[in-house]
Symmetry: C2
Amino acid sequence: MALTPATDLGPATALTCRECGHTRELGPHYACEECFGPLEISYDFADVTRASIEAGPRNIWRYRGLLPVPGNVTDTPNTEPGLTRLVRADQLAEALGLQRLWVKDDSGNPTHSFKDRVVAVALAAARELGFKVLACPSTGNLANAVAAAAARAGIRSAVFVPSNLESQKIITTAVYGGTFVTVDGNYDDVNRLASEIAGEQDGWAFVNVNVRPYYAEGSKTLGYEIAEQLGWRLPDQIVVPVASGSQLTKIDKAFQEFIRLGLVEDKPYQVFGAQAAGCGPVAAAFKAGHDVVRPVKPDTIAKSLAIGNPADGPYVLDVVRRTGGAVEDVTDAEVVEGIRLLARTEGIFGETAGGVTVGVLRKLVESGALDPSAETVIINSGDGLKTLDAISSSVAPSANIAPTLEAFRAADLA
Amino acid sequence: MALTPATDLGPATALTCRECGHTRELGPHYACEECFGPLEISYDFADVTRASIEAGPRNIWRYRGLLPVPGNVTDTPNTEPGLTRLVRADQLAEALGLQRLWVKDDSGNPTHSFKDRVVAVALAAARELGFKVLACPSTGNLANAVAAAAARAGIRSAVFVPSNLESQKIITTAVYGGTFVTVDGNYDDVNRLASEIAGEQDGWAFVNVNVRPYYAEGSKTLGYEIAEQLGWRLPDQIVVPVASGSQLTKIDKAFQEFIRLGLVEDKPYQVFGAQAAGCGPVAAAFKAGHDVVRPVKPDTIAKSLAIGNPADGPYVLDVVRRTGGAVEDVTDAEVVEGIRLLARTEGIFGETAGGVTVGVLRKLVESGALDPSAETVIINSGDGLKTLDAISSSVAPSANIAPTLEAFRAADLA
């Protein structure tokens, strides 16, 4: 596939290697020709103002002038993710001893995770690059998001999942139609197969493989929204779950862009990463003072964060160290307690990744790594309805009674 | 409980009986003193303009000047529901032979159903009326919404469900904390017990029982949003799922209020009701030309619509007949096909109630009752993640393969 003069990727200008800095032209590329490092989008932003953003649609496309998507992206059917709630969380703050806390609740997206953001950007760029099929390997949220986005756009999807996935997770993707393939193997096997297919099937855009540079930029919108929803300013501290690590680095990138564009005041902020202890390679590297991330074999209920060899791990370490943050991890029991605490204090039922973030927030406050008097934002990146198993043995009814007033009175519930 | 001079229920002025027209003062009342008919809120609206609404928050409180809630309602923590997507559904339209179709997707609410709207209004009014506990009988969406809203508001919830409810549905409410009681009986037993407790426990606001007049008004926001999101105009036709029937009548009320306030142009519109054949008492009454609705024993997969004796059934018939609409019902097989069609064409995974609405839309087009060339809106009131059982046997993967390129090629998926 080659770019035509009609190709419009908005303000994107080139692909730059994050390792060696080598730059090449835009296109369906994801690895550096020189050193095989990951490519990232470079931009030349036109005049983007608070007013021009506020005049945009009530979804991520209000930031289209900062994304690698065509200027007319809103004319094409898409799931219109974003502009999810930023919830002032006074009760959670009180429970943890913080003074000013916000939850960015991305469970409000169309398929109820932040993946709708990255998939929407990947889809828009993939169409522009001439791809015909939207594909991914996944075990959950990404599969939902890809199948839904492709259905809405009227193009074919091809989703690959391990064949031992729970039947419920199979249903939630299969319902959108498209090609849906179960693969006899674990997620690593599925991922490897996806890369092989991407190399062979010219028109297939695997969102997290061969169009990953575009896809990853979608996470910037989380950062943009937080700054805009705070009234065009940055928080002092932010806690972000770390799977591949991409989300954390892109939120930082978004903050930096807003500063450079003069959309927010330049001020210090600290970025913290949250992992599950059962899959905490970045936390381990941070604590050991290492620059490289040693892969681990995941063993945690936080499946959406269970990436043992996180592609952006080193860049997470860069951001966290540059801003004076930290990476911390919590046990599965702390994850469950985090889910319950968020639900009980703020009425937000997050998935396990949300529990990780709340648990890590608590731990960072207790250790003194995070300043409880500084304004803090945490990310809830997904929905508890998708990870019910994680809490099924931890929550229960208060009482069981016969259907009579007498039974109600006897149960002493008043 | 008595109102104090400080009680602020916004533009609400009185409670008026829908049967005999008798009016009484605002308060914690739900049945007419004269005839036991249902009470409804009367208003004296101040100056509400498009600009004043557009300047409001991005949730239902932008319409607070039209709801029975205090003027400072946004100062109190709440789940901030509403302003969900209105999705232009060209592919679904094409599949059904319509020209201009929109889906109002209320699965984007905080607990993923329209119940967040009515509960938020009930909570705001209940606090103002002096209630201390937010309660409900429920089998699903309402339980989620009440428990979440109370948690967020920092007040106690008391939710009553049949003890034979699936464990998954118990988890999704129990996670929010509060008092959660399973009752040995069916939903009717639970409902009756709730009424008895409401009569005895002074501070308990059962949202759908003793504060129902306030609660029901929350559904007006669906109508307001549709009109605003269409660019301050009314659709020609709207298809609304019918459980108690309240939602349909309140959307009509919202349209009428907008016309009276000069916020939209006065024009004819037709309101259609959608039921499942296994619980279609209003459809049956409509087809038979009756004014009264004969109760039925529900037997349908569309559990959120399974109200055999719908309180607002007669008022649904009034609205539908006044506007030239109809009430139609579909079989469970058609419900499943409706869910799948909505997912495949628009990437929206609706719950069974959404499947009912799509199925009825199709049937109304085929019968000629609905004009395919007129602009139509349908409501998706809840989320498919909550009713997975309904489609578990109808959707499946396309293929199962070994994790090799050879297997991929052999499966002929390219």
